[in-house]
């Protein structure tokens, strides 16, 4: 496991997401106002860019077909299907957002 220092907090505006590639994974980081969260940037439905979705509370709605993903658990909340995206630990230190990712997880596969 590795912590990646990603970017200054001000680069991710309030209630928006931004994508970043870390260890070959495209990850969407969101600013929820009281905290930052991170999930895979691909919607489990058709791979839509979650970072471009509308954030409401702790959920994001995929811009392609409106799947709603819980940013805390990664579970799809709408429609009622049991699929999910991976979530990643996030911390903020000295105004910089860091994300914890298993490095090159898919390399061995």
């Amino acid at each position: 496991m590795k912590w990646f220092r990603v970017t200054q907090v001000e680069n991710i505006p309030l209630r928006e997401g931004r994508a970043v590639t870390l260890a070959d994974r495209e990850i969407a980081i969101f600013n929820l106002g009281d905290r930052f969260v991170a999930v895979d940037n691909a919607c489990p439905h058709r791979g839509g860019p979650l970072c471009d979705g509308i954030v409401s509370g702790a959920s994001v709605t995929c811009p392609l077909h409106g799947y709603k993903v819980c940013l805390d658990t990664g579970e799809v909340r709408k429609p009622d299907v049991s699929i999910r995206v991976d979530t990643y630990a996030v911390r903020v230190e000295d105004g910089v957002v860091s994300v914890r990712v298993e490095e090159a997880r898919n390399k061995a596969a």
């Binding site: 509308i54 409401s56 811009p63």
Partner: protein, 801 residues
């Protein structure tokens, strides 16, 4: 007939007089009122101040009513003396009026706390219509307004002043707002809500002096601390007007003392309303005063029998978006249990005081939806043993009729107007009431604060044979209002951002449905002079391109009227090659679409194209499709190209409820297919037809003729009128053809091209304002709203943990 003199032309006096007139006529009636207005709804003054109602809208009895009932009305005359021996009253205009029966309904006046140098300009009380008008005049946007008094009236005044654009501070002498009605916790929840709205609250401040030379400039507190103020409203409580009671020689304590039959100590003198003291209580609320009026009317007309036996004190704050209700005794007592519920995040606080399985008091902050049920428990002293497990959360009723069936007949449904369930049912059965509008007209129920609307609708649904639900669609469960309501709320409450609307009128969170809709509404209500929040917009409106199935974007530059140049085409070709655009496609709207563009390339592509945004990604004007018209066509009778290009220039860059497609064609052969466009112009020999509401999508609809005009200028103006009318009145995501089906072309004509000149001018002025504040979205390539809007974030570094 005997002479009846009514002193006081307010709600209690006139409501009582209405009851007296409903008995056999026994009196020649004279009414004295020291205000110069006919009877109006005093409890709605705060909504006049908050811009929700005009002064005309709160009139209760028109001049015609006084005339029809043969009442001698003496407006602007204050009664200054009563001579109980000769049975005459004297007016301040020198007039003398004989009475056989005297009805004192003198109400109350504002209490002025002991503050020195109160006599300054821009210092007001908030008690009557003249006060309200004076405050409105002084309440200039940006002014520092201070309200002394954090009770019901003070808070309502504060919100009204804020809506008028003032920066408002409420100064309260105690540590709890609405301390007469709330406990400490309820007061802190209320304080939080007021502060969220942007009203400053200072508690435990004793104002000792007003500062300023002539005009007020500030306040000084007992601590020596000072506060700036451009205007001061004093709302520190009320005191009953009892002077005339004393002069009439009747018993007076705090108020004019009356019996259960509403008699004073003099059989010829009666009193009703806020000036009255009954069993030691003085009431400042409407419902008990109306009840007193009914009893008094029976007594004075010789039908003595009914009695007034007191009323549970109850109060409701009338500030839109802040629900506060209180009744009974709400302070902690040793022999009582308090049952509470709190949700700090939602700002909801509920407390029931229970003694011996009976409710003795209730506080509701943030959600007063159940106030009717608790009032009924208080009023009937209901035994709550079987309900103890469901005090705060009633089991949901499967049958919606059950809720209203559980109410007793005597239960008050509308507290503002004092209308009971039995009266509503009588109106339904005897007067054929079937709709909310009829119910309002017949019974006045739900015409006050409106909080009983749901109960009234429930009653209509359960009882009225011909009830048809008024199916107004709410925008979303996050903000449960119709879009029409929301426009009013945004305007009257001066809400400038999506988040403000959500926080004050919604769940604070919103969703992908309501956020883009609210984004549109705040934009159109303020003509672009709002706080734009890109996070509430769909991705297309953040990056000004249309997202495709693979997460890439499409780029459509604007070519007004579908007219381009060789130079533009060369630049388009160069850009397409340089950025490996996957497909270049000619669209159905006479534009060129570049498909498969990466987000990070968008600003560069826009710069190299050097063309404005074609808005193909948003709810806006997509295009004005044209034929070549008189410019080249041998059949053309109008210059479609120039009219189309000009139209596009005038309407581009604005948001619309849904995408808007326009067309201009130079002759009735209609090569530009404008009769299936949202808005179109059809050229005729010597005239233009303006058509609206065409469709060629899932279904096909031929556009309706709005008007035929002679000149191109008139044609363009007609389109602009209709365009702005559509922007202001259609629901978000309602296409022009759906809008036209809903409102009807006749109404659309009356509200646009056939509207009075002032109305047309105002529509165009608002369109113009929006236009001035709009910009070509692609200029954001140089000044993005956020620096990382288009760039891919690169990680700083990796750190091994």
């Amino acid at each position: 007939m005997e002479d009846l003199v009514v002193v006081g032309n307010g709600m209690a006096g006139i409501a009582c007089l209405e009851q007296i007139l409903s008995h056999d006529r026994k009196f020649n009636v004279t009414v004295f009122g020291d205000e110069t207005h006919v009877n109006y709804n005093r409890i709605l003054l705060s909504s006049v101040l908050a811009g929700e109602r005009s002064t005309d809208e709160i009139t209760l009895n028109s001049l015609e009513w006084y005339q029809q009932n043969q009442i001698a009305l003496r407006l602007g005359v204050r009664v200054i003396d009563v001579d109980p021996v000769n049975r005459i009253v004297k007016g301040d205009d020198g007039s003398v009026q004989h009475y056989d029966r005297l009805l004192l309904a003198t109400g109350s006046r504002a209490f002025l706390p002991p503050i020195s140098e109160l006599d300054k300009e821009n210092v007001f009380t908030f008690r009557n219509l003249d006060d309200t008008k004076a405050i409105l005049e002084a309440a200039q946007p940006g002014a520092q307004a201070v309200v002394i008094g954090g009770g019901l009236l003070g808070l309502e005044a504060a919100r009204g002043l804020q809506v008028q654009g003032c920066k408002v501070t409420v100064v309260h002498v105690l540590d709890t707002l609405m301390n007469q009605q709330l406990d400490i916790t309820g007061g802190s929840y209320l304080r939080q809500k007021m502060e969220q709205m942007g009203i400053k609250v200072l508690t435990s401040r004793v104002t000792t002096r007003l500062l300023g030379d002539g005009r007020v400039e500030g306040l000084e507190f007992a601590s020596g601390e000072k506060l700036e103020a451009d205007l001061v409203v004093i709302a520190a409580g009320i005191r009953p007007n009892v002077d005339l009671g004393r002069k009439a020689g009747v018993t007076v304590n705090r108020g004019i003392v009356v019996s259960d039959h509403m008699e004073t100590s003099d059989p010829r003198v009666f009193a009703v309303g806020e000036c009255v003291e009954h069993r030691g209580q003085v009431y400042g609320l409407v419902a008990p005063l109306l009840e007193q009026g009914k009893v008094l009317a029976a007594t004075i007309t010789g039908n003595k029998g009914p009695t007034f036996e007191g009323w549970t004190a109850a109060a409701k704050l009338k500030v839109m978006g802040v629900e506060v209700f209180s009744a009974g005794d709400v302070q902690e007592q040793e022999d009582s249990d308090s049952v509470r519920y709190e949700d700090p995040a939602l700002g909801i606080y509920k407390k029931l005081m229970i003694r011996g399985n009976r409710l003795t008091g209730v506080v509701l902050v943030g959600d007063a939806g159940d106030s009717g049920r608790y009032m009924e428990w208080l009023r009937t002293n209901a035994d709550l043993v079987v309900r103890r497990r469901n005090l705060l959360f009633p089991e949901p009723v499967a049958d919606t009729g059950e809720g209203v069936a559980e109410m007793s007949d005597g239960e008050t449904v509308c507290g503002c107007m004092g209308v009971t369930k039995a009266q509503i049912i009588a109106a339904i059965h005897e007067k054929g009431v079937n709709t909310m509008a009829q119910l309002k007209e017949r019974t006045k129920a739900s015409t006050g604060c409106g909080s009983c609307t749901a109960t009234c609708q429930g009653l209509l649904k359960a009882v009225a044979p011909g009830y048809e639900e008024e199916t107004k669609k709410l925008l979303c469960k996050c903000v449960p209002f119709t879009q029409e309501n929301l426009r009013d709320i945004i305007k009257s409450q001066r809400l400038k951002s999506v988040q403000q609307v959500l926080e004050i009128y919604g769940n604070g969170v919103g969703c992908e449905v309501c956020k883009p809709a609210l984004s549109y509404l705040v934009d159109v209500v303020w003509c672009g002079d709002h706080e734009e929040d890109r996070s509430a917009r769909f991705i297309n409106d953040r990056v000004h391109a249309n997202i495709q199935k693979d997460g890439t974007f499409s780029v459509v530059p604007r070519m007004r009227g579908g007219v381009t140049t060789p130079a533009e085409l060369r630049r388009i070709a160069d850009v397409a090659e340089k950025y490996n655009v996957r497909m270049v496609k000619v669209t159905g709207s006479q534009r060129i679409d570049l498909l498969g563009v990466h987000k990070s390339d968008l600003p560069k592509i826009w710069a190299e194209l050097g063309m404005p945004s074609g808005q193909a990604y948003t709810k806006g004007v997509r295009m004005v499709k044209t034929c070549v018209g008189t410019e080249f066509c041998r059949f053309g009778v109008q210059d479609a190209i120039h009219a189309g290009v000009e139209l596009e220039r005038r309407l581009e860059n604005l948001y619309t409820p849904h995408k808007t497609k326009l067309g201009v064609t130079g002759c009735p052969r209609n090569c530009a297919e404008v009769t299936v466009k949202d808005i179109g112009l059809v050229g005729q020999e010597g005239s233009w037809q303006v058509v609206v509401g065409g469709a060629a999508g899932k279904h096909v609809r031929k556009a309706d003729l709005l008007i035929t005009v002679q000149t191109t200028d008139e044609a363009l103006d007609s389109v602009m009128l209709f365009f702005q009318y559509y922007r202001e009145n259609a629901n978000y995501l309602e296409r022009v053809y759906d809008f036209i089906e809903r409102v009807g072309i006749e109404k659309a004509r009356k509200e646009t091209v056939y509207a009075p000149a002032a109305q047309r001018k105002a529509l165009l002025a608002r369109l113009q304002k929006s236009k001035v504040l709009s910009h070509d979205a692609w200029t954001e390539r140089e000044t993005p709203v956020n620096p990382t809007q288009f760039v891919q974030i690169q990680p700083l570094e990796a750190v091994i943990q």
